[in-house]
């Protein structure tokens, strides 16, 4: 009897520990259909689910189950996590736990940042999500803090300041927990900062390591920066890296150099616009691959580095894939860093192609003139062939689904003067954009959802949209691909044809990252809605007038 009682008491106190997400759970996240444990729905960032209850037939009966208000009217780009029937979601202003079946809030912990913080945020007041590990929820804040909350109660366990935000550092990134280390990136390359990736102890918050993405004099790669230019060299890290637990390697994309004006920093400017292969325990760089050396065009390469095992020339190969902002789709051997393929997946005029031997772009006169300060017509624009919005990769179809951008811009570099806390880009921002036209001179589609063959960059199909889509993509074994529109529609497409199967008006622009999971025999799909990201701020697209701000979370399931 006494024993039983003790067992019961122990059990009552155990759940937080016993149910906590272990390193093994996180490593198996991609195949775990009951939970969504990782940003990117798996360490590989494939955003692919083996679930089939929602399929080409049943998707027509997809209906909302509940809606949860974020009480926040900023851009909602956060990816929900799901663990044991609880959704963990973030906005710039709060972290929340919500019952997955009922939509009832279990806890909400607000984020307080000084009102001047948004001054130094370049492209929307955003948070992209949390990480789960060992009973804790980890997130970053706009004023550059990393926070751990108790997953059961939302109470703060630890909080660490990465750096004083005032001169231009901000954090929107969802952390990655790899080999027990909480890894975070940072934003701010538009403000003349020098950026980095940090490792933190998950239990205590102790700072373990910092890897700068721009080397200081004497460090490897420092000869690619003339004079003092490294001090304002940028190299942001604002999208979560992928992780290969077998190779114990993290793949993290690195952002643009600062300022955009490339003439002031002649050289390759390592490791801007690169991917770094890192040891998660130490932050040491195992290898690097640079996409755009001496980049004048803000071809920031932070966006997701997707891991897959695919056949290359008939040989199964562990690769890392990237639909790069510079317009080329890269496939790289993730063990060695060797380039395997790089083909354009959108219109590109600044490079003729990528030299497979050296990995370097073959320049056209567009980039030569741009570096020399002449005004050029650039494709893709500085927002890229794809911006931050993550792709999905279907490992069975071998297809990458990407929300691509279809517009260019007049580009002209101008002198930039560094002043702490000020915008530092050295580009004429009054030139506007070049929007696509159809053959008969009408407005063409500014974006396409494309089904891309990674090895060729060619599209199997493309679904156009007047305004480009800026949401994440989700692929499923049911043959349904989910995406969203800035005009508010959450959409489902046939994975094989691109035929639109279903849509639902969410009430604000969809910039979220859809996820799916199964609970008690029901497959659910969740997505955040809420407009306010980079396109709504910079495009000047006045067709968005009728799209109200207002963040919320939608959950859908098939009607029985």
């Amino acid at each position: 009897m006494k024993r039983l009682l003790i067992a019961a008491v122990v059990a009552a106190f155990l759940p937080a520990g016993a149910q906590a997400q272990t390193a093994q759970d996180l490593a198996k996240g991609a195949g775990d259909t009951k939970n969504v444990l990782n940003y990117g729905m798996g360490y590989n960032l494939q955003r692919y689910s083996p679930l089939t209850q929602i399929n080409k037939e049943t998707v027509k009966r997809l209906e909302p189950v509940w809606n949860y208000s974020y009480d926040d009217n900023r851009s909602e780009e956060s990816q929900p996590l799901v663990y044991n029937g609880v959704l963990y979601v973030t906005t710039n202003s709060a972290t929340m736990a919500v019952d997955a079946k009922t939509g009832h809030q279990l806890w909400k912990t607000k984020v307080d940042y000084p009102p001047e913080t948004p001054r130094i945020v370049c492209c929307g007041i955003i948070n992209r999500g949390a990480a789960l590990y060992d009973g804790k929820v980890f997130r970053t804040t706009l004023d550059a803090n990393v926070v751990a909350l108790d997953a059961k109660t939302g109470k703060e366990v630890w909080k660490q300041n990465a750096i004083d935000f005032k001169t231009g550092y901000s954090m929107t990134v969802a952390p990655l927990v790899a080999d027990g280390v909480v890894i975070t990136g940072i934003s701010g390359a538009e403000f003349g900062t020098r950026l980095f990736i940090d490792g933190w102890d998950a239990a205590t918050g102790k700072h373990l390591w910092r890897t700068y993405t721009v080397p200081a004099p004497g460090e490897a790669g420092s000869d690619t920066w003339p004079g003092d230019t490294w001090q304002h060299g940028g190299g942001s890290t604002w999208i979560t890296g992928s992780f290969d637990p077998e190779l114990h390697t993290v793949y993290w994309g690195i952002g643009n150099p600062g300022p955009f004006n490339a003439a002031v920093r002649k050289g390759d400017n390592l490791y801007t616009d690169s991917v770094l292969a890192l040891d998660p325990k130490t932050g040491k760089v195992k290898w690097h691959f640079q996409f755009s050396p001496n980049d004048p065009f803000d071809y920031d390469s932070v966006a997701e580095m997707v891991l897959a095992d695919i056949k290359v020339n008939g040989k199964p190969t562990k690769v890392v894939m990237d639909a790069n902002r510079n317009g080329f789709f890269y496939v790289i051997d993730r063990t060695t860093g060797k380039l395997l393929a790089a083909n354009n997946y959108v219109k590109v005029n600044w490079a003729k192609g990528i030299d497979l031997k050296t990995g370097r772009p073959i320049d056209t006169d567009v980039i030569v003139k741009a570096r020399a300060g002449e005004k050029v017509e650039l494709w893709p624009s500085i927002l890229g062939g794809k911006n931050w919005e993550p792709i999905a990769f279907d490992p069975h179809r071998g297809v990458a689904y990407a929300n691509t951008l279809n517009f260019g811009m007049p580009y002209k570099a101008i002198p930039a003067e560094y002043k702490a806390g000020d915008w530092y880009v050295g580009m004429d921002l009054t030139q506007g954009w070049i929007w696509p036209k159809t053959a008969d001179g009408k407005d063409g589609p500014r974006g396409y959802l494309k089904a891309i063959d990674p090895m060729t960059g060619k599209a199997k199909w493309e679904a156009p949209s007047d305004m480009p889509r800026f949401s994440g993509v989700l692929a499923t074994a049911g043959g349904v691909v989910f995406s969203g529109q800035l005009t508010g529609e959450f959409e489902a497409f046939d994975a094989d044809t691109g035929h639109k199967l279903w849509h639902f008006q969410t009430g604000s622009g969809v910039e979220g990252q859809p996820v799916t999971w199964e609970q008690d025999g029901v497959q659910y799909v969740a997505v955040s809605t809420g407009i306010g990201g980079v396109y709504s701020l910079f495009s000047g697209d006045e067709r968005l007038k009728g799209i109200p701000a207002g963040g919320s979370l939608w959950v859908f399931a098939v009607r029985k």
């Binding site: 009217n73 851009s75 009102p115 001047e116 913080t117 948004p118 001054r119 370049c122 492209c123 538009e190 806390g421 000020d422 915008w423 921002l429 009054t430 506007g432 407009i531 306010g532 709504s536 701020l537 910079f538 000047g540 697209d541 006045e542 067709r543 968005l544 007038k545 009728g546 799209i547 109200p548 701000a549």
Partner: protein, 117 residues
């Protein structure tokens, strides 16, 4: 031309003349301080590009659904402009009082009043 039409045409001409005289008056008022104004607008434009355009849009062009469309800011509410820019608003528009001088906010005001054209 019928009598009626003639009268209508005359009315239209008068209306146009009245309108254009108002415009002319405004222009002469503006040209009184034109050199100072132009320099101020130019400074305001530069400050706007550095501090405001990443939220309010390049050249002030914005759909106004996420932030305030500054082209529609009431021109007779100078004080409100100074107050909102100095102190921020609703915890969404950040405060600039510690970064910009009142003169600089005046330059921004001059630029905002042009509607970005």
């Amino acid at each position: 031309m019928t009598h009626h039409r003639e009268l209508a045409a005359l009315g239209l001409m008068l209306a146009l003349a009245a309108g254009s005289s108002v415009v002319a008056a405004e222009q002469s008022q503006q040209s009184a301080g034109i050199s100072a104004d132009l320099a101020q607008v130019q400074r305001g434009k530069g400050l706007y590009a550095d501090h405001c355009s990443h939220c309010h849009g390049f050249n002030m062009v914005s759909a106004g659904n996420v932030t305030f469309d500054l082209r529609t800011f009431p021109r007779n509410q100078r004080e409100r402009f100074f107050n909102s820019v100095t102190n921020g608003r609703d915890n969404r528009m950040p405060p600039w009082g510690d970064v910009l001088t009142q003169d600089e906010i005046g330059d921004l005001w001059a630029y905002i009043c042009t509607g970005g054209k």
